[in-house]
């Protein structure tokens, strides 16, 4: 039963998040590329800088921290409202009365599934974000595809990817555990479920930002 729940959560939180991750990453990658090009247009700066800056922004910040903030909205509210609704409709009481450890059965697969899927989502976001920037190079005359390609290859540190994934693992745990806590402890009715969902998103976002600062200091300095 636990295995089935885990696979279901992998699909729900991971596979189902791919479209939103793809759309957001492509567009943000494209926007970063355009803005970098506009703001660094100078005869003293190489045009490859646009690709370089797009890559660094996507890897170091967007695809880990900002993506997890976005997913806190999608995954976090989904978890809090699902568990909260189960609480107010006595489904959790039904599990307890059967002798099932409801927290273990409901929460653990969600946390494990999202922590498992987040490296895939981060990698996917980095790739699609860079492709978004490449689209700008391909379809506009702001920068040539060759210059963009050279930029994204310039001075690449594989540790950046490791750093990004390590950060995202912590954020994934924060999103799922906080959302599960708010959902599991709901008391009342539909209004309280909505409130729990909002609280889960707001609080996990704030904690992600705090941890983002701490982890950046710890891992990069």
């Amino acid at each position: 039963m636990f295995g089935k729940q885990y696979v279901r959560e992998l699909h729900k939180q991971g596979i189902n998040s791919l479209p939103i991750v793809c759309i957001i990453s492509v567009f943000i990658g494209a926007v970063i590329c355009i803005q970098m090009r506009i703001n660094t247009e100078s005869p003293f700066l190489p045009s490859q800088l646009t690709g370089y800056a797009t890559r660094e922004t996507m890897i170091l910040e967007f695809s880990s921290a900002i993506l997890c903030l976005i997913l806190a909205g999608k995954v976090g509210s989904n978890i809090a409202s699902e568990i909260g609704t189960m609480r107010i409709t006595e489904q959790i009481d039904a599990l307890d009365i059967m002798g099932v450890n409801s927290a273990n059965y409901l929460i653990l697969p969600k946390i494990l599934a999202f922590v498992t899927m987040i490296p895939c989502l981060v990698t996917f976001s980095i790739t699609t974000g860079l492709l978004g920037g490449f689209g700008v190079a391909l379809f506009t005359e702001m920068i040539t595809p060759m210059e963009y390609e050279q930029g994204i290859q310039y001075s690449f540190l594989p540790y950046s990817i490791q750093y990004s994934i390590e950060k995202s693992l912590v954020f994934a745990f924060i999103v799922t555990s906080i959302a599960s806590y708010y959902g599991y402890t709901v008391k009342g009715g539909a209004r309280e479920v909505g409130k729990a969902s909002t609280n889960a998103v707001v609080n996990s976002s704030v904690i992600i930002l705090l941890f983002d600062v701490m982890l950046t200091k710890l891992l990069l300095s």
């Binding site: 039963m1 409709t89 006595e90 489904q91 039904a94 009365i97 002798g99």
Partner: protein
Amino acid sequence: MIEVKNVNKSFDGKQVLFDISANLLEGHANLIIGQSGSGKTVLMKSVAGIHRIDSGEILYDGRNISQMKSNELNLLRREIGMLFQGSALFDSLTVKDNVMFPLRMFSNKSEEEMEERARFCLERVDLLRALDLYPSEISGGMQKRAAIARAIVLNPKYLFCDEPNSGLDPKTSLLIDRLILEITHEYNITTIINTHDMNSVMEIGENIVFISKGHKSWQGNNTEIYDTGNEDLENLIFASDLYKKIKKAHQMGI
């Protein structure tokens, strides 16, 4: 049999149950009745082990649940089936999977054996046609029947029903009441029903415990209920004109 002895329960310093003692009989429908807010749901949840009591004893065939450790309580819970007020079916699972859920969690049966048992229970509650439907796709009465099938799938010794008729029309209520009573007798289950539906009281009240303001005020059966002399109970049972006429007819021997 479940024996409730001198049970007290409070929440945040506010006492809800006062020194309640009652015997809940094996193979019978035991009804806990009372006005809204009288403490009957707290009593039922305390007896079911969902709430820990402050003092007193609750004995399941001599086993005191208030002294049980959590692993012992979990083992006991496998002997308990519960029908919740809102059915509490898992809405992400089909009716068949809901009924098979306790088997998947606690039995070593093969998938075929589990399915056979689930089909048997669903047939018993006349719900085989809803096998592959989700709870949101079936009516309230069907949801209650599916919940009964899930509650009896592990052959429980004790069955708890929290307001099984709430939200149902009188005809479906009667059907559910009779189904619960039939199952109780058929499998010799100690059934505890929390209700304020007077039709249920009259129809299946084999052992009735009346709770008033957190105190046990009366205990008896549905034939004794006409002449209790208990003012609170009479105000609850014979509140409507219809039941006043029924009582009068009963007293006149009609």
